[in-house]
């Protein structure tokens, strides 16, 4: 027997075979490495292309066009005096000041010209003139050079998004207005500056005034609702299922259904919200409360699955040690397992919230698609949300909304990026080695 083995060992043929095979094996290793590298590079290239397109389209939205106007704050036109109170100043006739200023925007304008040039300014101009005055009330009876917001058509032309060398009929600005435009540009009175409206306004019918503050705050309220509902319920359910529930057919059924729930299309949750929350319980339509509740239902399975996985990953020796010390089951769970499972749970929760942030379909079902020109101040006020805002803008025919769409996508990406950064931070902060 022993002799046979020795004979086999001295058999050079089998050893050569191993060497040959080894060459093949290492070639396979190298091949696989190359495939992996190609796949990674392709993924990165696609991602880079995507980000580049969005950013290059969206960045111009962070700038707006402004035109310099000579505004004379004449006390007779305004119908106030230097002794007027603040309330009287607020009610002063700024629209007349604006009218005069626009009429004299360029020298020698006919009545028709004034009408045309008026369309090159945003409808917000009298408010801007008023704000400037209220901030510096001592400018009464002086003439000030103020940059006021231009109309979106001017803005798009200046940014090069709209073409000018096409037929007049197909253009937003006619030939005469183009002459004005060129005059403004050549005299340096038309320029771009930081677009504060984009960050401080809610949605608007006028692209130059539309901003994402309304939908951003709406999304924030919605996510808060999701977190407040889904996090405690999710953690409670996972701790119960993982540690306390008896293992029988019924709990098995629940577990299978939680996994199934995670795969349910989000629009189905939207239907549920519409059918039950709005129609049966009479929740206020298109509010963060309803949107958040629906999205919480959608996020729950994600949180439960993540939390249970992290509870499972806690070494059983820790729990045994605590129980052997005479800890009650609840003490063992809450003193030892939950703290150790927390980083994983938080990561799962933030991933779920990130999903909820990007979800559009269920919000459309519960009416968050409505045009809301105000920034919401509470959970029960009608509001928009970032993804729905993108959907609304992308559908708008006005050219000015195109860059807004891209810019809103940039904002949602930044939001997501910050949330993921928070997840990484929390993970490293709470993670403990054992």
């Amino acid at each position: 027997m022993l002799k046979n083995i020795e004979n086999d060992m001295s058999n050079q043929y089998s050893h050569e075979k191993i060497i040959q095979l080894r060459k093949k094996r290492s070639a396979a290793d190298r091949r696989f490495k190359t495939y992996g590298l190609i796949a990674t590079l392709m993924g990165m290239a696609i991602l880079f292309f995507l980000l580049f397109t969005i950013f290059s389209k969206g960045y111009s939205s962070f700038q707006k066009s402004v035109i310099e106007l000579e505004v004379s704050y004449d006390q007779e036109t305004l119908k106030i005096t230097s002794d007027s109170t603040y309330e009287e100043q607020v009610k002063a006739k700024f629209f007349r000041v604006k009218k005069n200023a626009i009429a004299k925007a360029l020298p020698d304008l006919s009545k028709k010209d004034i009408k045309l040039i008026n369309k090159m300014f945003s409808i917000n101009v009298d408010k801007e003139i008023k704000e400037y005055f209220l901030n510096n009330p001592n400018i009464l009876n002086t003439t000030q050079k103020i940059f006021v917001t231009a109309h979106s058509d001017v803005d798009q032309l200046l940014k090069g998004n709209a073409r000018r060398n096409i037929e007049e009929k197909k253009r937003k600005l006619n030939d005469r207005q183009l002459e004005f435009f060129d005059e403004f540009v050549s005299s340096g009175r038309l320029k771009t500056k930081f677009n504060n409206f984009f960050f401080k306004n809610a949605d608007s019918r006028h692209p130059e005034l539309a901003g994402i503050a309304g939908s951003f705050v709406g999304s924030l309220f919605t996510l808060m609702t999701v977190f407040l509902l889904a996090f405690p319920i999710g953690i409670g359910a996972s701790i119960y299922l993982e540690e306390f529930a008896p293992k029988n057919k019924f709990t098995e059924l629940i577990e299978v259904n939680i996994a199934n729930l995670a795969a349910v299309p989000s629009i189905v949750f939207g239907l549920l919200g519409l059918g039950i929350l709005l129609n049966v319980f009479g929740f206020p339509r298109s509010t963060p409360l309803v949107g958040g509740t629906v999205l919480a239902l959608m996020t729950l399975p994600t949180i439960i699955i993540a939390c249970r996985a992290s509870l499972k990953a806690v070494p059983p020796s820790i729990k045994e040690g605590a129980l052997a010390m005479g800890a009650s089951k609840m003490q063992a769970v809450f003193h030892h397992q939950v703290p150790l499972a927390l980083p994983g749970t938080l990561t799962g929760t933030i991933i779920g919230l990130a999903q909820a942030l990007g979800e559009t379909a269920p919000l459309i079902m519960i009416g968050m698609i409505a045009f809301i020109p105000n920034i919401p101040t509470g959970f029960t006020e009608p509001s928009a949300a970032l993804p729905v805002q993108i959907y609304l803008w992308v559908e708008s025919s006005e050219r000015g909304f195109q860059e807004k769409t891209a810019a809103a996508i940039v904002m949602i990406l930044i939001f997501l990026f910050l949330m993921n950064a928070l997840a990484v931070f929390l993970r490293s902060k709470f993670e403990r080695k054992w």
Binding site: K247, P315, S317, I318, E320, G321, A322, L323, A324, M325, G326, A327, S328, Q331, H335, H336, L340, R432, K433, W434
Partner: protein, 253 residues
Amino acid sequence: MKNIKISSKNVNVHYGAKQALHSVSLNINENEVTSLIGPSGCGKSTFLRCINRMNDLIDICKVDGSITVDNEEIISDEVDVVSLRSKIGMVFQKPNPFPKSIFDNVAYGPTIHGIAESKTDLEEIVHSSLKRAGLLKEVKDRLHEPGTSLSGGQQQRLCIARAIAVNPDIILMDEPCSALDPIATAIIEELIDELKANYTIVIVTHSMQQAARVSQRTGFFHLGELIETGDTQKIFTNPDNEKTQGYITGRFG
């Protein structure tokens, strides 16, 4: 003649359909070290885990028979497992300090059982427990470092300190030295010898030398049965049973 601390009669344990212990009857004396030896899978750890009802954690495990601690039956649904375990400490095979500071590890038991009256009381308990576990000198300057930063042997002594901090009567040790090097093992064995003055110790071990060194009485398990029990010296020099003889002389196991 010593007092009997733990007494088991006809203990049977089933894991599902498989019977792990067959009618084990064993008396364990107070303030003595009793070692349980036998080949792997013979049921010695299962028996040990019956004494503090840790087998309750395993759903399919069924225990019947009778075990009394201080003449009180513990194999019964009416027994409060939590207070039973506060009387019976346990040290596991692999050191399992909590991922907390050294101080918090030892303070955990006294805190949950409300033993310490005040903060200084708690500190006193932690210090004396660490001292009795022979660890105080090594860690007294770094009580607030994580328990997991200690070496394996120190971690195991930390677990012993944690167990004695609630002042139990009995300490169960499930192969406490199997993950340790010989030096750490020697320190723990010395410690066990000191601890027996105050505690009743039951130790499961794979090492016959260890059983011979630390224990006064020894029980030999084989295939779920308690084959022989008696004074350690007698078991290792002149056992009554052939199987015991075979095991200690290294013919099987």
